[in-house]
Amino acid sequence: MRAAIVETPLDGANLLREVSAPANGAAILFIGTVRDVNDGRAVTGIDYSAYSAMARRELESIVQEASSRFDTTHVVVEHRLGTLDIGEASVAIAVAHSRRAAAFDAARFVIEEIKRRVPIWKREHYSDGAREWVDPTRATGRGVVETSPADAGDEPTNSDDREPRAARTPGA
């Protein structure tokens, strides 16, 4: 069981070796990579940055939750920061388990929780030279939906299944 924030290329095969054990019948490796198109725009690269200390803490807590929820200690995750080219891996998750269904579910849980709550941000570089921070809470495509600040409640929960609320942009 291990979680790390790194600034060097990820090696998925190494993570798979790390989780392998004779009692495991199934292993999953999930790799997230930089796509050449996002939301219809040609992307040439991405800068990943983080609130590193908190990101490491949240990653560790996700791995621990996955371990207890899916009953395996064979879970490792690495998230990379820095400037990545198209096709490079930004995140690698390896899970091994005696049962394949649990291996799939645990890997899926880890990536969904990373996207939901780990304080990491990305700035895309576009082929026209522009660079923009990606905001997954904004609707994509031409019809950008702006919500009013009045929609935003005041009470982000901090329970165990807290969900970072979308930070609304004021009506532009």
């Binding site: 940055s49 908190m54 996207k115 780990v118 990491i120 990305k122 997954p136 930070a167």
Partner: protein, 80 residues
């Protein structure tokens, strides 16, 4: 009391810096700190009720702050 406010990504760009030191009266909450930040130049590009963390844990706007706390304003996360 003194509180360090950390800014990241688009919020750091908006306020032109990654970190702000705030001096707040005793008993101030996260919400009070966020109001102070909201009055700074550039803060119109930070939502009035952003996601926040205190000492590296997600927190409520009502959480009281203490001397030396590290308050982070967290833009919409985009990891993975």
């Amino acid at each position: 009391m003194n509180v360090t406010v950390l800014l990241f990504a688009s919020y750091a760009d908006a306020l032109g810096r990654p970190e702000i030191e705030l001096a707040l009266p005793a008993g101030a909450t996260v919400r009070d700190a966020v109001r102070h930040i909201g009055a700074l130049p550039g803060a119109d590009r930070v939502p009035p009720t952003p996601l926040v963390a205190v000492n590296q844990r997600y927190a409520s706007l009502e959480q009281p702050l203490a001397q030396g706390d590290e308050l982070a304003l967290i833009p919409p996360v985009a990891g993975g």
